[in-house]
Assembly symmetry: C2
Homo-oligomer: 340 residues x 2
């Protein structure tokens, strides 16, 4: 935290796990949403670093530190009047460089022992969206997603074609092995061994990252980036880069980034569903998000972060943990991992 | 039409363009939906062969014949008690072989002068779904989509990974040039020339195919297959293979297959939106489909076909034409192209 601008904000803000919320708690969440509707904060940023099983206690402080660093970067931009779109891109690209998270450096391994990266970004103002999937050599997939949005008439580019576009755009490239980390390789080996034993999944793919934000101009944006699931078939695309499944933004309702069993989020159009429960079903953001995670999806399918156009925040999850944080213009700065 | 079973049905059925419906006509559509709700047909199949600008009059009879052949194949299966999932796969795979349509043989060319094929299939009973994108050598993309659904834990496979899966499954392969047709090559040349002149689009990508069905057991299914848009960047994925964008099925509401400007369908989660307008907004199928095509999407963005769990049918479009047909257990057999 180098910029003095935010120092008072951060000093004032307690790191309060409890109030960072979770799934369930409908009534409390409603109250919170209503209070925020009365006078919305000038800007809000919510960040996640994946859902899944309880973390190794040794790693917990590192996960917290990673999310906090990303929150500070995004908060600084939003405080200065930057756009929500720029903020979520900056947050996600920082987390892509953190080897702890399953996005960019530190991404999980495919069944073939390689890495394939997916990302999406969406602007709530005009529904512009850009996404990439099955990338192999792009250091920051979220940046390429942004370029798909701004430099092509398309929304989603995949595989070789997306790599060729990366070359045309001149974004930073790395060898596929640059994404390797010993921890993720061990997880691949464990996952293959687990499959042979037909044992229960280990949740080893933990660490998809995402951000949603509301900026001073009242615009929403969402971004998500992931390496997918450990041991996935090459070419598999999950929900993260799919608009409406794992990423969504619409100024009329909310911005959403999901984390969990991607195929489940796809089959239920989970991210768009939160928005449509609000738009067509009259739910508050908290109710809509709880409905999707608690009723539409199955227990243990995952979680999501969402911010409404009124500044309300929801972060429900049905897994043991959702690494998450929220920061806003009023000095709220909270990071949490488990259920409250 | 070789099977005697359906002959009486087909002889009785007039080919009535007018009642095959279009966009707009909300009140008439409502009445129709209500009548059908009162006693639903034992099965219903709706097929489309793409939306766009007015057809070359010379081609119109061929488009009709292609759609009719596909309708007969699907109707035969549904009449015998086959599943909606098998019927939509059979319909779409037949259209993939028809060089007139922009799916399989006859697919449009990418900017690189190649073909890249996308398809998706979804079961309304259990929300199982399978999809493929950026395929280059698979003769029937819809069959590979079905195999993704049934043989993998995934929903979407793309590019090289999807090709490797095709090899593992032993599906029929062809050289990429097998998909070539002189008409589509001419369209690529025209489109590139048009871009240089910065003239208005020609609608040359016409011909995405899709089918939605309700079977005797009351289950819905949807399938869509496409070559995408003429002159697209390699790696570009449109709405067709994306669950919730161009393809959707949910026994609780409806099955949908879209056709039009794919990026618009993605940004608005168009197919899932029809279903959610019904589920959360209390709309009838006809109202929900008209809302999405007439209000949510822009004029000229495209059209969709949909069948409800009550047997109601909607086929709105905001383009000049939507090649479409509906056949049901009561002897309805209608094909239409332009607005009524």
């Amino acid at each position: 935290m180098r910029r003095p601008l935010l120092a008072p904000l951060l000093l004032l803000a307690p790191i309060a796990c409890r109030s960072a919320g979770g799934g369930g708690g409908g009534a409390a969440a409603d109250g919170r949403a209503q209070r925020q509707q009365a006078s919305r904060p000038d800007w809000v940023l919510v960040v996640h670093g994946g859902s899944g099983k309880r973390l190794d206690p040794d790693l917990e402080p590192q996960y917290r530190a990673g999310v906090e660093a990303a929150m500070r970067r995004g908060a600084e931009q939003l405080e200065r009047g930057g756009s929500s779109l720029d903020a979520v891109e900056a947050v996600v690209s920082l987390l892509e460089d953190d080897p702890l998270f399953n996005a960019g450096k530190g991404a999980v391994f495919t069944h073939a022992g390689t890495h394939e990266l997916d990302a999406a970004i969406m602007s709530g103002r005009d529904r512009a969206a850009g996404a990439v999937a099955a990338l192999r050599t792009v250091r920051h997939p979220i940046r390429l997603a942004r370029l798909v949005m701004e430099r092509t008439p398309h929304v989603l580019l995949v595989g070789e074609g997306a790599e060729a576009f990366a070359t045309a755009m001149g974004v930073e490239r790395v060898d596929n092995s640059w994404f390797d980390t010993p921890r993720r390789r061990r997880q691949l080996e464990e996952e293959i061994e687990r499959q042979h034993r037909q044992a229960a999944p280990t949740g080893a793919s933990m660490g998809t990252v995402g951000a949603v934000a509301l900026d001073r101009a009242g615009h929403l944006a969402a971004a998500t980036s992931t390496g997918g699931t450990t041991n996935k078939l090459p070419g598999r695309v999950g929900d993260s880069p799919l608009v409406g499944a794992g990423t969504w933004a619409d100024d009329a309702s909310c911005a959403v980034s999901g984390s969990g069993k991607g195929e489940q989020f796809i089959r239920h159009a989970a991210a768009a569903r939160v928005s449509m429960l609000m738009a067509y079903g009259g739910r508050t953001l908290a109710q809509a998000a709880d409905d999707v995670i608690g009723s539409v999806l199955r227990p243990d399918d995952g979680g999501l972060i969402a911010v409404g156009s009124d500044g309300s925040v929801a972060m429900p999850f049905s897994t043991e943990v959702l690494v998450r944080g929220v920061v806003d213009a009023r000095g709220r700065f909270e990071v949490a991992i488990g259920h409250p």
